[in-house]
Symmetry: C2
Subunit: 299 residues, 2 copies
Amino acid sequence: MKKKIMECVPNFSEGRDKAKMEKIIAPFAGRQGVTMLDCQADPDHNRMVVTVVGEPQALLEAVIKSVDAAVACIDLRQHQGQHPRMGAVDVVPFIPLRNMSMTEAIDFSREAAARIANELGLPVFLYEESATRPERRNLASIRRGQFEGMAAKIKEPEWRPDFGPAEIHPSAGVTAVGARMPLIAFNVNLQTADLSIADAIARKVRESSGGLPCCKAIGVELAEQGVVQVSMNMTDYTRTGLAEVSEAIRREAARHGVEVAGSEIVGLAPMAALAETAAHALGLRGFSMAQVLESRLLE
Amino acid sequence: MKKKIMECVPNFSEGRDKAKMEKIIAPFAGRQGVTMLDCQADPDHNRMVVTVVGEPQALLEAVIKSVDAAVACIDLRQHQGQHPRMGAVDVVPFIPLRNMSMTEAIDFSREAAARIANELGLPVFLYEESATRPERRNLASIRRGQFEGMAAKIKEPEWRPDFGPAEIHPSAGVTAVGARMPLIAFNVNLQTADLSIADAIARKVRESSGGLPCCKAIGVELAEQGVVQVSMNMTDYTRTGLAEVSEAIRREAARHGVEVAGSEIVGLAPMAALAETAAHALGLRGFSMAQVLESRLLE
């Protein structure tokens, strides 16, 4: 049987106190079947984003322990930072990486949510693919009002949490747990300083204004470089690939008489997203991920 | 320390007798640190090509045991098959896959060659990157004359083997051992039945007639599909990438008024070759293999 690998990217509302951050990530260290790939703490946001992968059940156990540690040491009543937040453990996304389906990842996310509620006493909202109602798919809708507004919001019948009590945890607030596809942060720079062009192209390509599925995009000014950027989150590369959105932006830019000045992937991207882009560029037929040498090594 | 991974693709002169083939690949099974990824036996060629990867020293030990088994059960005096061959173990290439340099792979290939000569009594030629003279880089030059001609050839001073006796092993002939980059079999189909166009483009892109470095190419007719193909072996994707050769062929085809009808990768390709193609297609800046999620998983 092929080994299932799941990813989890929990966001913790602590990005300043090293001792606390150490305690929160400790459950990911030296645990059989679990590997922490990345850990980014931002003092301005006062937030830490951890990327951890592993065998699904081992990963789930480690995540629960980490959430426990965060609840014990973070007090949202004292928390200040630029990033919106509603809980000590703000959001816990589970991502099916290898040899597992989205359905399985949803099942794991529900198990995690139930245990976080039952064992740690936190109210939990299921979001994204795990959401129980359409209006809970979007994390921003759940988080609206933030920690300070959540005490009242959670009493409203339509914001009753999916698991746990219908009142916030006094110091740790509430948490969102869900399954989603891996997210790719992909930016395309345009050879112009005119932000309105980046804005117009972002509107054209993003799903919310009728563009490409699973593409979120905004225009951004890179003042130091004297160029503008279409800054994107691709939320499901199997629905819209990097090659496809890249070509769409190039086409739109040409209509504005502007050239693409290069692009970048920020952070990690799954191998399949890059292989699919290569297959598209080369016009490959009958290509399968099993042809990637390292793919076999991972089994 | 990052784990080094080496690949070996030994070619054995037995592609018909299942019992013998089982004996030859047995050393690759259930051995700690070694994984057989592929095994292709061709009865017409009477040849078996095995792809095995692993921790370098463990891989080397397994390969020596497998060569030992092949020498014990293959008798070249009885061997018939379409593929040219000069030994029971015709050729043993070592490929640096992860976290190791070509220099290290050359060192391992020399150690393997010395042990095959000393422990098993086979004369061994070093070839490709491990070659001790320019005329021994090319396997075809070493193999010219095949098993039947080797008894005399090996007595010539310029064909004295690098390791072992200057006479062939009576039943197992001689063996070539060396280090090389991973090889990618890449074919591009052209929307025409005119073989002379595929031939002309192959001549244009292959290194031997002044084309792209590390590209071997021939024109091939795919009679059933009614098209022709530029059939290639890319012997070092870090010198000429798939995107580059694909674009060169598209350009040349356009000059002949012909369209590209798709392409294919036959067998395995390393992740980096595909990621590099994607990076080229997207115009990525500052991209590194460390951004490939699975790349971290492999460490």
